[in-house]
């Protein structure tokens, strides 16, 4: 027990670095450095000390090496000198190599940053590894192809805290759309969450002011982020101020939160006390085990080292105890840190990432780096032939094999390190646009992230080692084929992704999506006057039709087991989408009726017992005459009155499933008790801004308390394929880079072969060879390589792209044309990059090459 108080210490990494570089007995030098650090920390404070210390260290290292070079490093100095001289002498060669390596490394760094960011989601919480989310499985209730839901009953939290000692804390967190009234204008806030006071015991979101223990304890208290504080209060202190939500309830601001990190699976702007909902919704409606009208998300903090499976195994008993003998849901636990990349369940708070894309990106990075390395190997091997004299002389003077290997490796290290520095500059320049392109706020900061720097240096060293070792050790034949293989594979992949995107864009979804405006109605006043609203809108000449009070084709997403006439007792029906629509649904979305009739006001029974099925649903029942048959879904019994053509309510990833339509009616409870609040307006293509302004005016008239938010239906549909579109773009960029690097390599190789054969070409010309003949002679090899590469590339690309296309239920096929175009492109690119050198060599004056002085 010498000293209890801890002296400020430099970072572990810098200590490690010092120990490695300034080697001595007893770590005296490390002690010296630590003393410097302590003095700095005393004088300037820790933060500044860190920065200054790094600066100090960075200046120290080269000084130290400069000193030691003078004693022992004569040989090293010589290597350096020769390497630098070589770089200067063969400028073209060096530029090609450094350019290839730096572009390759740039791709690597960008992708590394992206992957690192994706893995950083939700990891900044102190207890990140012990936080779990409770999710539910409702067997048989399938929504968008999955029966797992991000939902839990409101009473779960209390049960978890009471019955299970291993659950340290539990909290609910639920998002509500909030309309905040400020200076009499409504503002929509999408990031308002209601949370229990335990929220801050589980998650470590920092507060700028306010007490996390009490901030969300009292009803109608809320914490706001800096962003919101700035938006509504400017520079005033918001603590203690009142914010009105929904023109009904006043909330008091009890503190300010730091802005929510973007790498969080849910991002909030406002956190309000959960018990406010007891007043607004009624406590008995929340602390219950039935009804899932609202999404309560429940998170819990588990004791360290407690196996979550053990807790999960106790859940069925809990469900029985609180929810009754035949409780329909099952409870499951999901680790917090897995949510972003591995969750594919319904009602996720925000769109998540996808681990597959991480793999894909990493593979792209790897391949591009491979191309750069292979390029280097090829060029170095090609050039080694001209360096035999140098090696010979070195050996004569006394260098052994090790020295020579060391020299070659050193040279490749110089190339990669230079490449690394240039690539870092590229990354700095490109990062903002790359970040906005993939929609992530990526950062690249060496001061705070020395591990990353270490990674990069490792990558560079490995690359240097790989690309240097080959010519250094083997000096064997050229193999540019592998570079071309990768390029061709990437060209095929890009073309296929684009074909599929094109296919999606042009395939008929089965309903009209152009010139249709969609939006949501929240105002009860407007909801009660829908028909009037509709008539008033219809009067405007540019508005062709209005659809309210029913599902849109893209919002049909809940399914259940249907039963029908002819289905044997006890036999399970088929999962069928249920859609609640208004009378004009088929006309409005131009969906084709192929049999029977549409819903009609003339038949009063239509509101309670008419079904219209799609073709797939009819096919599954096996009926020949569907009209008039009995059908039931979601407990609603009726007769089939019509059959429509299939349309795609979900993405083209999924097959069209059976679907049944029926009329919405206020008297009969609808699916999952949800309120349908979508509307759609069909407009003509003239004067769209004028029409939009008119609609907004009318909307404001009926619903003054809510902002008018709308979107075009075709854009909503496109959004489903956004990740594919992004994939297509990313693929094309990276393919371009891959082609660019391999072109550099081919160009370099061509210049070497031309250079080596200068004399031969001269003699051939003297003997009467034509220019075109010599160009042919020089290009022939490259054409051979491209053709050989195809033999390898085509099967690889075919297998890979077939796999990817399996993801789509509706897909294009990989046509022969894709391959023909790719091969032609590869050939053309190869010839273009070779042509400059071959033309130059072929047109040169033979006198220049044959003259010998």
């Amino acid at each position: 027990m010498i000293n209890k108080i801890k002296e400020p210490q430099p970072s572990r990494f810098s200590k490690w670095l010092i120990k490695r570089i300034f080697k001595d007995e007893g770590e005296v030098k490390l002690g010296d450095f630590m003393e410097i650090y302590s003095t700095l920390a005393e004088e300037k404070g820790r933060l500044q000390a860190r920065l200054r210390f790094w600066w100090y260290l960075i200046r120290s290292i080269p000084e130290y090496f400069r000193g030691s070079l003078c004693i022992g490093g004569t040989m090293f100095k010589n290597y350096l000198k020769i390497a630098l001289r070589n770089i200067k002498r063969h400028k073209g060669y060096s530029i090609i190599n450094i350019a290839g390596l730096s572009v390759g490394l740039m791709c690597c760094i960008l992708i590394l940053l992206y992957v690192k960011y994706e893995f950083s989601y939700d990891r900044y919480h102190e207890n990140a590894d012990n936080i779990y989310r409770v999710v539910m499985k409702f067997p048989g209730i399938v929504y968008m192809g999955s029966d797992m839901y991000n939902a839990s009953p409101g009473g779960l939290k209390a049960a978890l805290m009471e019955d299970f000692p291993e659950v340290i804390y539990a909290t609910r967190a639920t998002r509500r759309r909030a309309y905040i009234y400020y200076k009499n204008n409504p503002f929509e806030e999408r990031g308002m969450f209601f949370v229990d006071p335990e929220f801050f015991k589980i998650f470590s979101f920092p507060l700028i002011s306010g007490d996390p223990e009490t901030a969300v304890k009292e009803p109608f208290s809320m914490l706001i982020t800096q962003k919101i504080a700035k938006k509504y209060f400017g520079n005033e202190d918001p603590v203690g101020k009142i914010i009105n939500v929904g023109r009904k309830y006043d909330y008091m601001v009890t503190g300010i939160l730091e802005n929510c990190p973007e790498n969080s699976h849910f991002t909030f702007d406002i956190l309000a006390s959960f018990n406010s909902l007891y007043t607004t919704d009624g406590k008995e409606n929340i602390e219950t085990w039935s009804g899932f009208n609202d999404l309560w998300n429940t998170y819990l903090l588990l004791q360290e080292n407690f196996n979550p499976d053990d807790l999960e195994s106790k859940f069925p008993a809990m469900a029985k105890k609180y929810g009754g003998e035949d409780y329909e849901g099952e409870f499951h636990l999901r680790p917090l840190t897995s949510i972003h990349l591995h969750s594919d369940i319904n009602f996720e708070i925000e769109a998540n990432g996808n681990i597959l894309y991480i793999y894909l990106f990493s593979a792209i990075a790897f391949f591009i780096m491979m191309i750069a390395c292979l390029n280097y190997m090829n060029l170095a091997t090609a050039r080694a032939a001209t360096r035999f004299k140098e090696i010979g002389i070195r050996k004569v003077v006394g260098a052994d094999r090790r020295h020579i290997i060391r020299q070659f490796l050193g040279e490749s290290m110089i190339f990669t390190i230079t490449g690394l520095f240039i690539s870092i500059i590229f990354v700095e320049l490109l990062l903002p646009s790359f970040g906005s392109f993939i929609d992530k706020n990526l950062e690249f900061n060496f001061c705070s992230d020395y591990l990353l720097l270490l990674y990069l240096i490792c990558v560079a060293l490995i690359v240097g080692l790989i690309s240097g070792s080959y010519p250094a050790l083997f000096m064997s034949a050229l193999k540019p084929v592998n570079v071309i293989v990768i390029s061709i594979v990437m060209i095929v992949c890009t073309l296929t992704v684009y074909n599929q995107l094109d296919f999606i864009k042009n395939s008929k979804l089965g309903f009209k999506k152009d010139h249709i405006i969609t939006g949501s109605i929240f105002d009860s006043n407007l909801r009660n006057n829908l028909e009037l609203f509709k008539t008033e809108l219809s009067r405007y000449p540019q508005i062709l039709d209005v659809y309210v009070n029913g599902d849109l084709p893209v919002t049909i997403s809940a399914s259940n087991y249907a039963r029908w006439e002819g289905l044997a007792e006890g036999e399970e029906g088929h999962l069928t989408y249920g859609a609640e629509v208004n009378y004009n649904f088929l006309d409005f979305f131009e969906i084709e009726l192929i049999e029977g009739r549409n819903f009609s006001k003339e038949f009063t029974t239509d509101t309670s017992q008419a079904f219209i099925l799609n073709e797939t649903a009819v096919k599954i029942t096996g009926w020949n005459e569907p009209i008039g048959k009995k059908y039931s879904l979601w407990g609603r019994e009726g007769l089939v009155i019509g059959v429509i053509k299939d349309f795609h309510n979900t993405s083209l990833h999924l097959k069209v499933e059976p679907m049944a339509l029926w009329l919405t009616s206020p008297n009969i409870p609808n699916i999952l008790n949800r309120t349908i609040n979508d509307f759609a307006i069909k407009i003509s293509s003239d004067d769209i801004p004028g029409t939009l302004a008119f609609i907004e005016d009318k909307f404001k008239e009926y619903s003054p308390d809510y902002p008018f938010n709308y979107s075009f239906l075709d854009e909503r549909v496109d959004r489903i394929y956004r990740s594919e579109q992004r994939l297509g773009q990313i693929f094309s960029y990276f393919t371009f880079i891959a082609i660019f690097i391999s072109c550099l390599g081919l160009f370099g190789l061509a210049s070497f072969t031309a250079e080596q054969r200068t004399k031969e070409i001269g003699i051939r010309k003297v003997l009467g060879a034509s220019v075109s003949g010599i160009i042919m002679l020089l290009s022939r090899n490259f054409v051979k390589w491209v053709l050989a590469a195809n033999v390898l590339a085509i099967p690889i690309a075919y297998i890979a792209m077939n796999r990817w296309l399996q993801n789509f239920a509706y897909r294009t096929h990989i046509g022969i044309w894709t391959f023909v175009i790719s091969v032609a492109m590869a050939l053309m690119i190869a010839l273009i990059s070779v042509s400059y050198q071959s033309v130059k060599a072929a047109t040169a004056n033979p006198v220049d090459s044959l003259r010998y002085e």
Binding site: E7, M34, E35, Y64
Partner: protein, 111 residues
């Protein structure tokens, strides 16, 4: 005994000035103070080790402090040889600079 390089000379003098407290940090500080140019630790280790090898300096491990995270100091001292070479350098210096003042230097400048 050959001539000392300028760096070696300055380091030996710094060690002499610091008497019993000459180790990495203090030597770098002293050099910074006397030369007006910033000396970092990395710049003093190599010459110190070289001078020790030439037997102008001797070193021993000193005590550790909390600031150094418990690591001991390496304290340097001038040897007899070191002192001799400094004396020689000083006398050589004096004879080179004998009777030359700054003003007399300025006078000789060709305008």
């Amino acid at each position: 005994m050959g001539m000392l390089s300028r760096t070696d000379e300055m380091i030996l003098l710094a060690v002499w000035r610091l008497e019993d407290n000459a180790y990495g940090v203090t030597i770098a500080e002293m050099l910074t103070r006397t030369t007006g140019k910033k000396w970092v630790l990395g710049a003093v280790y190599v010459p110190l080790e070289r001078l020790e090898k030439k037997k102008y300096l001797s070193s021993s491990l000193g005590k550790s402090t909390r600031k150094r995270g418990g690591r001991s100091k390496r304290l340097y001292k001038l040897t007899k040889d070191g002192l001799d070479v400094l004396i020689k350098t000083k006398s050589r210096e004096q004879s080179i600079w004998a009777n030359i003042t700054i003003s007399s230097l300025e006078k000789g400048y060709d305008k």
